[in-house]
């Protein structure tokens, strides 16, 4: 591809770029202190152990430095004292859309959530700033004993399951942002699937940031009991504000013996959101955890979904698509910790950098001593569209002992000029040809998303391009 072609490709990030005014009944104000945490605890009527947990996490958050010795310096632009840590209209989510207040409901209607629920979802939770406005599960699924509620309800109504796993997969001090989340978390989902239950349709959560200078800190815990199967999808949007917004979630998955969890994310935050998320799953014997992750929006995303393969023959997988446009930095990757024999992991990552966008892959694969027959396969491919685009790859692989098989491959390339020429020769415009080539690059991964999502993704990456040879 000639470098003097000034191409401008824009993914469609306009879907979520709107905002309705909302009256908040609960507001923790601006900035973070012990008082903020007490306010959140009081409003949410947290039990004492949660209050203690939050305060301990807050101390850790203060003590930990920003990880800028390896991460981007852009993190320094987050001003923690300018952020609003808790905003809600109330703590109890509504069970029907009719009950959801009009000002909040119209946002979700515009985003098409109730419609999607009717069409293909087994349950939906819709979070608006700090709390879920709506949470419902189809009766048939509920009758199987599946629990799908907000994290606050989870910890109140199902403490015996909740407490057992909460904070166990991702310790509070895992990183500065998991500590921050642990201090101020609100919202997110709690899911429990009983032994042997296979939830036929996906459960979905939709996260919406509506307020300016807001920080969203949801906390999700999903437990699939022995032999259970569940697919969870999350989507997110925020309107485009003048100032930066912070989203810092913690997601913990626990797949017990033989269970399967698939976690699908389509992240389309507006381009001023710092999206700093910690996601990790614990896979027991014969269990399988698969993260399907697509990052299109945000100013800076740092997200490395991980799987700890704790039981024999456990399997971990990360499929990742990242699209970094002008001014965006998609810093994504995967973390695979093999902690038992015959565990296998697979990482496939594809990124596209366009304009001044930067995509980074960071990976960690760890196979400790005295294990047998572990396997990892990692493939990362990066596509660069413009001369100012940038891509980085920083994997770290540790293998101890023989009898394992680990391979990592990465490549960086441009759109094939011959392909574009071929398509143009058959009458396609340059823009359409580029768009086809980009879609072709990610196509095999897009197909791994559920139908409705892959159609949506294709539309999102349906690039509008004005190319001019200059």
């Amino acid at each position: 591809m000639k470098t003097d072609i000034q191409s401008q490709i824009e993914a469609d990030r306009s879907v979520g770029d709107f905002r309705y005014d909302v009256d908040y009944a609960y507001d923790a104000g601006v900035g973070l202190s012990e008082a903020t945490i007490d306010y959140i605890c009081d409003v949410k009527k947290d039990p004492d152990w949660v209050r203690a947990f939050r305060k301990e996490a807050y101390r850790k958050f203060l003590a930990m430095p920003m990880p800028t010795h390896w991460a981007t310096k852009d993190l320094e632009n987050i001003v923690f004292e300018n952020i609003r840590y808790y905003l809600s209209q109330g703590q109890a989510p509504k069970r029907t859309w009719e009950e959801v207040p009009e000002d909040v409901k119209r946002t979700f209607e515009r985003l098409g959530i109730p419609e999607q629920e009717r069409k293909f979802l087994a349950g939906v939770e819709a979070q608006f700033d700090s709390e879920a406005a709506y949470s419902n599960i189809k009766a048939a699924v509920g009758e199987q004993g599946v629990i799908f509620v907000g994290s606050a309800e989870g910890l109140k109504d199902h403490p015996e399951i909740f407490k057992k796993w909460f904070g166990k997969v991702i310790p509070t001090g895992d990183n500065k942002f998991s500590a921050l989340n642990s201090a101020v978390f609100s919202g997110g989902s709690f899911i429990y699937v009983p032994p042997g239950v296979k939830v036929s349709h996906p459960l979905q959560a939709y996260f919406r940031i509506n307020a300016q200078n807001f920080g969203q800190f949801e906390r999700t815990l999903i437990i699939a009991d022995e032999g259970a199967e569940v697919t969870y999808m999350e989507g997110c949007t925020a309107p485009k504000f003048e100032t930066a917004t912070l989203h810092s979630a913690v997601v913990e998955l626990v797949a017990l013996k033989g269970a399967k969890i698939q976690y699908i994310t389509v992240q389309n935050w507006s381009s001023n959101v710092f999206n700093l998320v910690t996601k990790r799953g614990l896979a027991h014997e014969d269990a399988e955890i698969k993260w399907i992750d697509c990052n299109i929006g945000s100013r800076l995303t740092m997200k490395y979904p991980g799987v700890i393969m704790k039981g024999r023959r456990a399997r971990g997988e990360v499929v990742s698509i990242a699209l970094a446009g002008d001014g965006q930095h998609q810093d994504t990757g995967a973390k695979m910790v093999h902690a038992a024999d015959e565990t296998t992991s697979n990482i496939i990552s594809k990124s596209i950098s366009l304009g001044t966008g930067r995509s980074t892959y960071r990976g960690m694969v760890h196979i400790p001593k005295h294990l047998k027959k572990c396997k990892n396969n990692t493939e990362c491919d990066a596509l660069l569209i413009n001369a100012e685009s940038r891509t980085d790859t920083y994997p770290a692989i540790t293998v101890r002992g023989q009898g394992h098989s680990v391979q990592h491959e990465a490549s960086v390339s441009q759109i094939n000029a011959e392909q574009i020429f071929y398509m143009q020769q058959r009458g396609l415009s340059e823009a359409a040809a580029m768009s086809l080539a980009v879609n072709g690059f990610v196509n095999d991964l897009v197909q791994q998303f559920p139908m409705e999502y892959s159609v949506e993704l294709k539309r999102l990456i349906d690039l509008e391009m004005e190319g001019s040879v200059g």
Binding site: T393, G401, Q402, S413
Partner: protein, 431 residues
């Protein structure tokens, strides 16, 4: 001559403080004093530092090492310095003293002298290239120690158009328990020159020692240099091998690092591609064994467009050996049509061995082709079975497979004399 055998290397700034006058000019001594200050000022690296990730920093402690004493028996060392028979020139250093120099077969204009002579007779030329590039892969502190403590070394200058048909062989020996040496090598291959050089690093005895060696290879337009560095330090040695290579337009550098000995070996190879059609081929073979730790950091820095770099590192790990490979391909903004490749393969031969790989890419230009790969795997059992079925004992079979594993890298060396020399040496190091 006062023996300095009992002085710690950390006690004084230079190696010439014991009644010995420095042979170096003022500007050089000033730089050395300055380097010492920087060395003292800089903190010891910590593991949190990305450039020291996975590294066993305990092994970089310098407290126990002493200034190397004068060589007692140079004749014995000369006799032991037998490598390639058919060579163009040879120099032998022991404990940072030149004990042998044989240059009669060199074509006119080729300069192959010690650093103190280079400073006397080719001061300007030497100064122009000496430690021109900062050590940036983590060991800057140790590069400063090297500069402060530098006593001698090799300066090779190939004038434009000169082609050497036979290789040059350089030896560096270390003698004495806890001795520290700081060998320095500077090669300048001028326009259209062509040469092959092998540097041999060895210990006279199994004693512990400290080595901080630097070699700078400067390949100017259309020049071609084949370089092999073969290290057989004692199993107790802590060694730093800091390499800088810069290649100009249409130049070609092939550099191989063979780490056959040492306890803790930190090898940094920094290659700059400065002109169109520049080629840098970076190779390494490491039969890591015992409690060895081989810590490799590499950098393929594409500054100019249309250049090629190709890295191939093969590690075979037995016993409790550890290796760390951290490599970065960087394509700078203007370096379009870069072709860069990086591959590290770890062959795991024991349950206690550990291989860490961090192959990195930083791409700031779009019209590029960059790939990297890292694999860690075990011996191919089918191959072993095949050999056993044909009467080859398993032990021998393993050796053959490892031999073949390294041969893939050695085959990339363009000078057959260098290749044969290393092939023979390798025989002694495969278990």
């Amino acid at each position: 001559m006062i023996s300095s055998a009992s002085t710690s290397i950390l006690n004084s700034s230079s190696s010439f403080n014991h009644g010995e006058a420095s042979p170096f000019p003022d500007w050089f001594q000033e730089q050395q004093a300055n380097a010492w200050d920087i060395f003292l000022k800089l903190p010891q690296p910590i593991r949190r530092d990305e450039m020291w990730r996975f590294s066993n920093l305990k092994k970089t402690s310098l407290e126990t090492f002493l200034e190397a004493s004068k060589i007692k028996n140079p004749d014995e060392i000369r006799n032991r310095s037998q490598g390639i028979t058919d060579i163009a020139a040879k120099m032998i250093f022991a404990n940072d003293q030149l004990i042998h120099r044989e240059v009669s077969n060199l074509p006119e204009g080729v300069v192959l002298i010690s650093i103190e002579e280079a400073l006397k007779h080719h001061g300007e030329l030497f100064r122009q290239h000496f430690m021109k590039h900062e050590t940036r892969l983590g060991s800057y502190k140790f590069a400063m120690l090297h500069q402060a403590k530098l006593r001698t070394g090799v300066f090779l200058y190939l004038p434009p158009g000169v082609v050497l048909n036979k290789p040059i062989e350089i030896w560096h020996w270390v003698e004495g328990a806890h001795s520290a040496i700081f060998p320095h090598t500077l090669f300048v291959a001028s326009k259209q020159s062509h040469a092959s050089v092998i540097e041999r690093f060895s210990s006279l005895s199994p004693d512990p020692a400290f080595v901080c060696a630097m070699n700078d290879l400067i390949i100017e337009e259309e020049a071609c240099l084949n370089y092999a560095s073969v290290q057989e330090w004692s199993a107790q040695t802590t060694a730093f091998h800091l390499n800088n290579t810069s290649v100009s337009k249409k130049g070609r550098a092939t550099a191989l690092q063979a780490h056959l000995g040492g306890l803790f070996v930190r090898s940094e190879s920094d290659s700059r591609l400065l002109g169109k059609d520049a080629h840098s081929i970076m190779l390494s073979i490491n039969p890591a064994h015992g409690k060895q730790e081989i810590d490799q950091r590499t950098f393929q820095d594409h500054i100019a467009p249309e250049a090629t770099s190709d890295l191939l590192y093969h590690n075979a790990l037995s016993d409790e050996a550890r290796t760390i490979f951290s490599g970065l391909i960087k394509v700078e903004k203007e370096a379009h049509q870069t072709d860069a490749y990086q591959k590290v393969r770890n062959l795991m031969l024991s349950d206690e061995a550990e291989a860490n790989s961090m192959p990195g890419l930083e791409i700031l230009a779009d019209d590029v082709r960059c790939t990297h790969g890292a694999t860690s795997g075990e011996l191919n059992k089918e191959e072993l079975f095949y050999m056993m079925a044909r009467g080859i004992p398993p032990q021998e079979g393993v050796k053959l497979i490892v031999r073949g594993f390294f041969q893939t890298v050695l085959d990339r060396l363009e000078e057959p004399l260098l290749r044969h020399c290393i092939e023979e040496l390798l025989e002694n190091h495969l278990f």
